[in-house]
């Protein structure tokens, strides 16, 4: 499968697209069942996902938390499910919980929409993260966090050193 494509379609949005060699019913399960999700959504090398609680019904809440193996630092995301169309679409809010990493990231929740589309046994997944404002997006983006992916400050330092 072609690698994930990250783009910035508007001032307040980040879009990530990827295709998977599996029918949508399996991809959907991997996104909906915490036991499965924890196995793949563990983030950058050296991080794990010790908390993955989710009640993926409209009005239900979720809580995801990541932990660094190296120093035990944690951060996470929480939010509420706004819309569920089985095997097609899930929309939820997302609020960043800085845990003990400390730094903030916008105030308003962002809206995450994940769409699933199957064609010939291949499932295309598009994840759109809409931030409440451009400032929130730029902040989230430059701290390296998008939809539960976090980048440690170490990586940031490396990038900045190169620049």
């Amino acid at each position: 499968m072609k690698p994930a494509e990250v783009s910035l379609p508007s001032d307040t949005e980040v879009l990530v697209k990827r295709s998977f060699d599996a029918p949508v019913k399996l991809v959907w399960r991997a996104y909906m069942e915490p036991v499965l999700m924890r196995r793949w959504c563990s983030g950058p090398p050296g991080w794990s996902m010790p908390v993955c609680e989710m009640d993926m019904r409209v009005g239900g809440h979720y809580r995801w938390c990541w932990r660094s193996d190296e120093n035990g630092q944690e951060f996470g995301f929480t939010g509420e499910v706004l819309e569920v169309v089985p095997r097609a679409r899930i929309v939820h809010t997302q609020i960043y919980d800085p845990g003990d990493l400390g730094y903030s990231m916008g105030g308003e929740p962002s809206i995450v929409t994940v769409t699933f589309q199957e064609a010939d046994g291949i499932t295309n997944v598009a994840t759109s993260i809409k931030y409440a404002s451009k400032a929130d997006r730029d902040e989230a983006f430059s701290t390296g966090m998008t939809d539960g992916m976090e980048m440690s400050y170490k990586l940031l330092d490396d990038v900045l050193a190169e620049g």
């Binding site: 494509e5 959504c41 950058p44 992916m149 980048m151 990586l155 620049g163």
Partner: protein
């Protein structure tokens, strides 16, 4: 490169016209009037886009020449693309694990059907 500069660069690149200008300048220097012709926009519009790109450090303009041609600052752009690449790598890392998990789920389904 400071965090604030990276923020500015991202903000500057969020606009499609400014991205177009950056792509155009990747081929070499250009004057404002060349850019006006290329993008079919007014001179003040192009100039204001150039100002944003310049203050984000993505382009520089020669002071001595009368036409003040614009030029890409490749190091700054590289810092931005490196950054996007690293964000992409994190997503791709997750997705590769998802590939493996899906292969496993497919296998399980197959075996269950056999039973």
């Amino acid at each position: 490169m400071h965090m604030k500069q990276l923020d500015q660069a991202f903000a500057a690149l969020a606009d499609p016209t400014r991205r177009g200008i950056v792509v155009h300048l990747a081929r070499g220097e250009a004057s404002v009037s060349e850019l006006v012709g290329r993008f079919s926009l007014t001179q003040p519009t192009i100039s204001s886009h150039l100002k944003v790109l310049e203050s984000a450090g993505l382009i520089s303009r020669r002071k001595e020449a009368q036409l003040r041609p614009c030029k890409l600052v490749p190091e700054r752009l590289k810092a931005v693309t490196d950054w996007l690449e690293q964000v992409q790598e994190i997503w791709e890392g997750n997705y590769k694990r998802l590939d493996a998990l899906l292969a496993e789920l497919k296998q399980q389904e197959k075996q269950e059907r056999k039973k």
